[in-house]
Symmetry: D2
Subunit: 284 residues, 4 copies
């Protein structure tokens, strides 16, 4: 986090200092992290500010790479190797305008027992049958939680969810969008375990805010577009859908990964996943 | 809300005033409501403080009546008549203590399209086939949300969720419990539509707080039990489960209800629900 | 609080029900209270919804009555009888527009020891010399707070502050305004004692929000005026000034009041206050 | 901020990695900053993680250096050079225990017009008489804020306030402590100007929380000491006092400082301050 914060600052100083190298502005870079100490030797502090500057230089409007890339390299989610995931939706405004809502996730939470794809409890179907029996036996008694001490990776982590949209939304509305990210997490099986530090952030590019407006001691009034609250429901629905799909993508695009000391996290078996989902596709 | 607030006060004055009828304390009753204007003539303001006093007098440790009872009388949820619902779980502490976690909901949100029972998209299966076709066609185009203007009850309401536990939790932990209620809502198909005003409250009976501790100008230290954060996960999981089950109960225990002007809201067909769920019960 | 809440509803139903007396809308009236159990027999629950309806009917654009009026009748602040207070400021916008910022307070907090008028520690100057000596002696020892148990009214109450403006502000900006109310409280000697339940609310009449906008499943965009953040400082400064002046007014306009059991709270001596302030008016 | 964050991590890795240099824990260092671009060439990003490691190594229980030290080096407050300031109070518990409440501030806000020392408007008394006349003339007209565009340093900054205590407080109580910091700021003349980003943090060393408690799926109950809410007032009062005194110290301990391009910020004249305060020391 520290190196990334400084990297953003270095980039900004390189681009926006005056001819003497002086700056009369300040930034508050927003940087977030999830813990990857199982697959990453975090004590080596491998990231440097230079990498971040190169990353910003290389940024483009192309599709975001998904799976084991960037911060997603060391992620594990609901019992499988995971990483970065993304998804988007479009919504048609009342006058025909097209608005896009998109999510980017770095998913790092949950246990296999809870993993669902849409309606299908894939985690339970795929998990080791012995382990599953113990889980199911636990459900029959008041000792619900009295599980045998697990060995191997104890994943209870966290998720970073970034929601972006070009629909014009005010800060209160964006906060409401961010909260709807929790619906997407719940759909795939998350329930916000402890230490999860789930981080949700929503921003809009739909307003035209003057960033370097000079300080004025006389009020200046601006007119900003914003969605009427009573028409925000489709945007909320898109947020839940995008986050759900992003988490699927973060799992399905990841590859089996080996960390320090030979620690290994397997990717999900995509063929088995496809056939399982087809089998469950019941219709009335 | 006003009448209920005053009713709680009237009860307290009746029970705790001194012999002259004077009181030297104050209360902040917590009262919540969801909108039932489709099935209830709300302008008549039918509830009086007396009813609340009688309600408190009649309160018992028996099971909470579910369905069309109390505030649940006018509720509608995910396309069906709903009402009050409740559910609980027990968790075994590390020294064998048994803690109970329970939810009480008054559910009044969502559309049939979104209703799920566990893995099964019951809402879509049960909905009018013509209406379903329109919904599905919408999913194929960027005009996702360009739905035909619906007639009949437009339900986008809200839910009240009360979480109660005898596990000792501090205020920060209780706030975290309340947030996990959203997971239960998401599991049955809610995504927090606008105007929803979802109200989540969690309380614990596990601490022994002296309510009428006299004001002291010298610090007084108390010792309160509280769950260690790293062992709170089973409680979180119970909250999500209890809220999910409570919403099912609020729908399944409700009965078809007729409001003013002959407005009618049908209960869900329990036989069809049972057979549908059995049909979907795929196993690996 | 309950009666007032219902009174607002009764007024709205009377004015806005359809010809059959039915309503298809709902309100969430905002009602607040501070505790006046020393001067008021609160167990009698004397306020009825009818009084509130009459109050709304009688509302006008005239100056707000200050002192012992309405909710202010039983208030005590910083050792003296207090009540309702109000004050306003105007600010000139960059294009010559005039914006008004106003505060309405119901002040019910603090002890005489802390009362200040501007620069002058009036509370200490006016308090009983024996009591003041004990306070000052306490300041010399580590037992700072080891005060003799006080008799008489122990006031540690609360304050309600309503900020109103016609400057166009978004919800985030209004929240920032409300927080600045604390500056005004601090200037007169408040420090937010326990049980204070200080209630701050800010609203703007500067935007033109359509209250009964129909629910739409296609986003509708609106343009709302709002102050540019970098020009909001004069409004913040006005809030602090208005709240400070409102509290002075709430004390100076109040009259000595006798409650149940002959309990009495004296108004401040305005002549002595004036001469004290003049005496302290040092200049460089 | 980035370098400091990484410095804390480097220190922790050096001290707490296992023999292979691996770590199985994570930290969330808390680092804060205020803007010092007037007196510091911030684009040079002069701070490195190593400096922070050396700083932690050199930390001791001695008095905190005040004034132009550490993050305080580039601070300006209420028209004068400022920096780091600190102050503490003790409170006696009901059983004779002694609790300490302390504040550490890095103060960087406000204009000379607003500076007060206790009751005395030092800022107005000390400011340039011509500038003061303009300010006072402005107060007579509705154009209150229509000030001549100021030259020189426009200070509207921010303050970091850290409250520390060994009184046992729960997280809710600590949040209440942090909020009382605003009272101290208001007493010296601050009113929370825009861009201020005031940062308040409170922590207690009074509880004995096991940091590396292993994750348990059976609830574990702990008993923690905590202050009874009805006896917290003296702690609140100490917070306000400590923050007020800390800000005075941050100004009085600072020295005239010259930054890049010869920009200069003068320290306050302590002799004139002393004589002014003595002159104002009116008594009844």
């Amino acid at each position: 986090v520290g190196a990334c914060y400084n990297g953003v600052y270095q980039y900004a100083v390189r681009e926006h200092a005056d001819e003497k190298g002086l700056v009369d502005w300040f930034l508050t870079p927003v940087v977030a992290e999830t813990y990857d100490g199982y697959l990453n030797h975090i004590g080596s502090m491998a990231i440097t500010p230079d990498m971040v500057v190169r990353g910003i230089d290389a940024a483009s409007a192309d599709r975001v790479p998904e799976g084991c890339t960037g911060g997603g390299t060391g992620m594990m989610c609901l019992g499988y190797k995971a990483g970065t995931g993304s998804a988007s939706r479009v919504v048609k405004g009342v006058n025909g305008e097209i608005y896009t809502v998109a999510a980017l996730v770095q998913s790092n939470f949950g246990k296999d027992w809870d993993l669902k794809f849409g309606a299908v409890p894939v985690g339970r179907i795929f998990m080791d049958p012995e382990k599953r029996k113990i889980h199911e036996a636990n459900l029959q008694s008041p000792e619900l939680q009295h599980q045998p001490k697990e060995t191997g990776p104890q994943k209870d982590g966290s998720i970073i969810i970034i929601i972006a949209t070009d629909a014009p939304l005010n800060p209160t509305q964006l906060k409401r969008l961010a909260k709807r990210g929790a619906t997407g997490v719940a759909r795939v099986g998350g329930w916000g375990s402890n230490q999860s530090g789930d981080i949700f952030l929503a921003f809009s590019t739909g307003a035209d805010i003057v960033a370097d407006q000079e300080m004025s001691w006389n009020p200046v009034v601006d007119h900003q577009p914003q969605l009427v609250d009573n028409s925000i429901n489709p945007v909320f629905e898109c947020v839940a859908d995008c986050v759900e799909e992003s988490i699927y993508n973060s799992i399905c695009m990841a590859e089996t990964t080996i960390g320090p000391e030979g620690r290994t996290m397997d990717a999900i078996d995509l063929d088995r996943l496809r056939s399982t989902l087809e089998k469950w596709n019941c219709t009335e």
